[in-house]
């Protein structure tokens, strides 16, 4: 029994060390991301800022005039698993597009899955059943600055596919 304590203590120190390493890597990635979002022109139009609630989330809004969507709310998350996840929530008629408000739900979901086959960004439904478009980067090959630029430029282009979904919502 006495012998177990040193092992547990060493494990706890090891665990704490690993946690600190993970946080340091996340922090470094977040800094790179914030630097990119504050200097890259199309990202500056989205007015990104660090989330008050979630320290590893960066939130932004794209609200330039579009045909269908009133604005996109964007969340960029740096995860513990060394990924960067982009989520773009379209707002339509003052609210997120929620699955409970969709009239032709079967066709709507099938369209989302078919679009995900053809498109650069994919569609998903969150725990509140709100629709968002997403893209996930895994960081094993380094910080993908140029690829992140492509995702940022692609977000306003989601207006057209959202427009095609609207007849299934109303």
């Amino acid at each position: 029994m006495r012998g177990l304590w040193p092992i547990l203590t060493v494990c706890a120190v090891g665990g704490l060390g690993a946690q600190t390493d993970t946080d340091a890597v996340r922090d470094s990635t977040r800094r790179q991301l914030e630097a990119l979002l504050s200097t890259y022109g199309p990202a500056r139009e989205m007015r990104f800022q660090r989330s008050a609630d979630q320290p590893f989330d960066i939130v932004g809004v794209f609200d330039k005039p579009m045909m269908h969507v009133s604005r996109f709310e964007i969340i960029v998350n740096v995860s513990r698993q060394r990924t960067i996840g982009f989520r773009a929530y379209p707002r339509w008629h003052g609210a997120h597009i929620n699955l409970d408000r969709v009239r032709r739900r079967t066709l709507f979901m099938e369209r989302l899955l078919r679009d995900a086959d053809q498109s650069f960004l994919h569609w998903a439904i969150d725990q509140n059943r709100d629709l968002f478009a997403g893209f996930t980067f895994t960081l094993e090959s380094g910080f993908p600055e140029d690829a992140i630029d492509v995702v940022i430029r692609s977000i306003p282009l989601l207006d057209r596919p959202v427009g095609e979904l609207i007849p299934l919502i109303q």
Binding site: Q81, T83, L99, R105, T106, M109, E110, L112, L113, R114, D115, A116, D117, F120, H122, W123, A124, I125, D126, Q127, F132, G134, F135, T136, T138, L139, E140, S141, G142, F143, P144, E145, D146, A147, D149, V150, V151
Partner: protein, 171 residues
């Protein structure tokens, strides 16, 4: 006038053909890099990896080691014209895919996979035949992502537990 137009068309034709050749050369180079990672590394993880004779820009692979719910995954890895690397992973049940037409509760399955796309590393989609697959896309503007491709290959077997949740919707 006709002579001038013909010249312009010819020049355009040459320019377009040259651009096409250039694009194919880039795709071929990227495919070679992809093959050099997927063939040896995939094989070390017990994937069976093949080229597709009909499509020089796509790799086909199969994985069936220690899976509990799906007998095997059939995987297509393609270099697209848009310079992306696209993974498509089809859970395969004794020769058939998970097809939206063959489900007892299509709505529930579609909602479940759209929720998987929220929580997981892979997204889920349905192809032109209404077959359901998990996917991952790399865009190549930041270079060839060798380590990240290895990570995707390591992650594919983990999709088995998600497939386990979907089997409840199969007839």
């Amino acid at each position: 006038m006709a002579l001038g137009l013909g010249t312009v068309l010819n020049v355009s034709g040459f320019a377009s053909a040259a651009a096409q050749n250039n694009l194919n050369a880039v795709r071929t180079r990227t495919f070679d890099q992809l093959w050099a990672v997927v063939k040896p590394y995939g094989s070390s993880l017990h994937y069976r990896v093949y080229g597709l004779p009909k499509d020089p820009f796509t790799i086909q692979a199969f994985y069936d080691k220690d899976l509990h719910y799906t007998p095997r995954f059939e995987i297509y890895i393609s270099i697209t014209r848009q310079q992306t690397i696209q993974f498509r992973i089809y859970p395969q049940f004794f020769g058939t895919y998970l097809n939206l037409d063959s489900l007892s509760n299509e709505d529930s399955l579609m909602e479940r996979v759209l929720r998987f796309s929220d929580k997981g590393f892979f997204f889920w989609a349905a192809d032109g035949n209404r077959d359901v697959f998990a996917g991952y896309t790399f865009t190549l503007e930041s270079g060839f992502p060798e380590e990240a491709i290895m990570e995707v290959l390591r992650s594919i077997p983990l999709l088995d537990s998600s497939v386990g949740e979907l089997t409840a919707f199969m007839e």
